[in-house]
């Protein structure tokens, strides 16, 4: 009951304050736009706005950041689906299946699913966040140390080979290549230089964003360009159909699972929305009865990724508000906003600043509802961008990607990484390897290695220590089990000819029909 009164009071506070509504609207639009444009993301917007928060009330500022968070993790989904350009890293797994769906003339369904699932996941996470705050955070930091995080990532990686490749072995080689790329830079254990070839640019490691822009957007331009030249290009049919209720109902388990996983990833320090999307995608593959369809236009892939990244937003607010522990970059900025106003997030904020907390909760709830409404409009409008002939659109994609890769850190080396990844991605796709697998390997490898090294140091280099921790042990055994099971009984991969990329073949098949 108290929950409802608090919610109502937050609702009244938000909607009776015109200035708060202005910030709400600006945050919503800002997050959408910054989320959608590659190279900038909600973090860029957050950093630019940080000095101005000194002139706002703490309630307005925190509310603004939470709205940016909610719309920022959704914003990149549309570009990921329509053009294979994930606007933000959180949306990269959305492109795995979203773009092939566009190629098959099912863009409306993909965008519709992304919108609906983002809104549902986000709303559900806002509700759970309101109900569960302090206990969850305390439990999470005690139960999940580096050992459990490593085990969780290992568990996730164990299915990565099933995504998008033409055979299980090519899937594994793709993932291993990703893991190899993740080792470039300074090693997390002793600060050794690996594969840096004397370049201090490479010491920082290969950045993830230019890599996904190259593997997805640039490689796609090459693939379609080749078709244009050889006369095999067919424009995708424009599909405006929203997914039906029945389609959503069939995926209800996937949505629930992605929600739990996403929310939980948000709560864990250092995991956050991007990892949430990737892990949730992996689980969708694991539990599906036909994992071989993933990476080739499976609606469930979009559902898993977009439900999870928005579910993470509510989760991430919990350790911040309950314990003063920001788990990611955007929540760290919110921490900065609190401190700028001389407040310290923690149990005291929950008691002393009820208005702030509830206005924020209500704003996150409302932002998710608005995403659904705006997103529905978007489904009916942005999809028409596909009518632009590809030969006109390709230069724009290349330009946008180049600017995006450069704007990230203002380093020209990132542009070279992007084009390198573009060429590599093109060649690998033509030979039946999976760029999705590589990307999974890079992002999970980086975090997994860091967690593994920390675990070993914490356990004084006793590897059996993993098995004295029940959560870690279960996850590791389950991960090993998946790998063995896949080797004994490989998933049925489609019997298409290897030379053509899996994605494109499926696409051609659909456009012809």
């Amino acid at each position: 009951m108290e929950l409802l009164t608090n919610f109502a009071s937050g609702f009244v506070h938000l909607f009776s304050d015109p200035l708060a509504l202005v910030y709400f609207a600006l945050g919503l639009l800002g997050g959408l736009v910054f989320g959608a444009i590659p190279g900038v993301n909600m973090l860029t917007l957050g950093a630019v706005l940080l000095p101005f928060t000194a002139y706002m009330s703490a309630t307005h500022a925190i509310m603004l950041y939470s709205v940016i968070y909610v719309s920022g993790v959704y914003g990149g989904a549309v570009t990921a689906i329509l053009f294979n350009i994930p606007g933000s890293p959180e949306n990269a797994p959305t492109a795995f299946d979203g773009y092939p769906m566009t190629q098959q003339g099912r863009a409306g369904k993909a965008v519709g699913a992304a919108v609906t699932c983002s809104a549902l996941g986000g709303t559900a996470s806002a509700v759970v966040m309101m109900a569960a705050t302090p206990i969850v955070a305390d439990w999470a930091i005690h139960t999940f140390g580096p050992q459990e995080i490593f085990a969780l990532i290992f568990f996730g990686l164990s299915v990565a080979a099933s995504v998008g490749a033409s055979t299980l072995w090519k899937g594994w080689l793709s993932v291993l290549l990703g893991l190899l790329l993740a080792t470039v830079g300074t090693d997390p254990a002793g600060g050794l230089h690996r594969f840096a070839f004397g370049s201090y640019y490479l010491l920082a490691g290969i950045n993830f964003i230019p890599l996904i822009l190259g593997f997805f957007a640039v490689a796609e331009v090459f693939v379609q360009g080749e078709r244009l030249v050889t006369g095999r290009y067919r424009a995708p049919r424009i599909g405006l159909d929203f997914p039906t209720l029945l389609e959503f109902w069939r995926l209800k388990l996937a949505m629930a699972r992605s929600f739990v996983l996403g929310f939980f990833s948000g709560v864990l320090p250092g995991i956050g929305a991007t990892l949430a999307a990737f892990m949730s995608y992996n689980e969708a593959v694991r539990w599906s009865s036909h994992p071989e369809r993933f990476g080739k236009g499976e609606l469930e892939g979009v559902v898993a990724s977009e439900t999870a990244n928005n579910s993470a937003t509510g989760g991430a607010m919990i350790p911040l508000l309950a314990l003063g522990l920001p788990g990611g970059a955007l929540t760290a900025m919110m921490m900065g906003v609190f401190q700028l106003h001389g407040m310290e997030p923690g149990p005291l904020v929950l008691v002393n600043s009820r208005d702030l907390v509830w206005v924020t909760f209500v704003a996150m709830f409302a932002a998710n509802v608005c995403i659904f409404l705006l997103g529905y409009l978007e489904t009916k409008t942005t999809v028409h961008l596909l009518r632009i002939p590809f030969r006109l659109f390709a230069p724009a994609i290349l330009l946008l990607s180049t600017v995006g890769a450069y704007a990230l850190r203002n380093l020209i080396v990132d542009v070279w990484v992007m084009f390198g990844a573009g060429v590599l991605g093109y060649l690998l796709r033509r030979t039946g390897y999976s760029v999705a697998g590589i990307v999974l390997g890079v992002i999970l490898g980086d975090l997994g290695e860091a967690a593994f090294v920390k675990s070993m140091q914490l356990m004084h280099y006793d590897v059996l220590g993993f098995f004295s921790r029940p959560v870690a042990a279960i996850l590791l055994v389950a991960g090993l089990g998946t790998i063995v099971l896949n080797l004994v009984r490989p998933p049925r991969f489609t019997t298409e000819p290897a030379p053509a990329a899996a994605v494109s073949t499926a696409a051609e098949g659909a456009t012809k029909s």
Binding site: L43, P51, G191, H193, Y201, P269, G324
Partner: protein, 316 residues
Amino acid sequence: MMVLRLTLVLLLAFAVPAGAEYPERPVTLICPFPAGGAMDIVARGLSEAMKKTFPKPVAVVNRAGAAGTIGNAEVVQAKPDGYTLGISAVAVLTVQPQLTDLPYKGPDTYAPIAKLVNLAIVLAVRADAPWKDGDEFLRAARQAPGKLRVSSPGIGTILHLILEDLKGRTKVDLTHVPFRGNGEAIPALLGGHVEASIVHPGEIVPHVQAGRARVLLVFETKRDPLFPDAPTARELGHDITLGVYYLLIAPRGTPDAIVQRVNQAARAALEAPAFVTLAKNRGFDIDYKGPEAITQELWLSYKTFGPIIRQLGLKK
């Protein structure tokens, strides 16, 4: 305030006859760490406060990567015309060049402009830990060599080197666990995955106030008013008084008049009420030093860290 304005007027008057009217256009301030981090907040706060003390805007550009060396290298290689300046930290300038070959080395390979802020360093444990102060902690560690695990925010950070310095001087074996920043290390401390953490006061104060953490030892010249019960390392007979500091730099060869002009503007900005509030809320101690004094401090840090780095075998 009056004196300040007068100084500014005089300085402007002095700069004009020198030929170029610096600054004629906006100045770029390269921050070698990501947007939203501690240094970025200082950079943006300073840039905002300098609006009143500097005639052209100071635009903060983030060029993050490789522990700050990428952005820093860009500053030292820029044209020394005063239009590319950098904000940097002691570790980027005095530790990193002793680890790797970089386009800069000692403080004579760039032009230090002004020291801005200082961040103290402390050793913290959970509130329910059995040790009441640093002495008890070190004694417990001596009895069980290597058993106590202490986090740092990363390899080669000043906080890591302080831990190693402590280990070396006390001959106590502590297991060092580097995290990716204290944003990850503090949850590990509170969650019971490490026994102690090396942190900045601003990072741990909220948890001390909430009764979840306790500070056992401070690496300052005198006791920290925030943690009056925690002895300094010096009190325990280990002379470790190192902090992290942020400063402004320019490429070597930047005309002295320009260095002085920026220095004066920055000095005035550090006194602006908005910046003072920002520093107080974020746990930075404003600690202005002019070009000569900061150059000396950099040399001191550079020479202190050299032996520690060699001893640790960190040099590649």
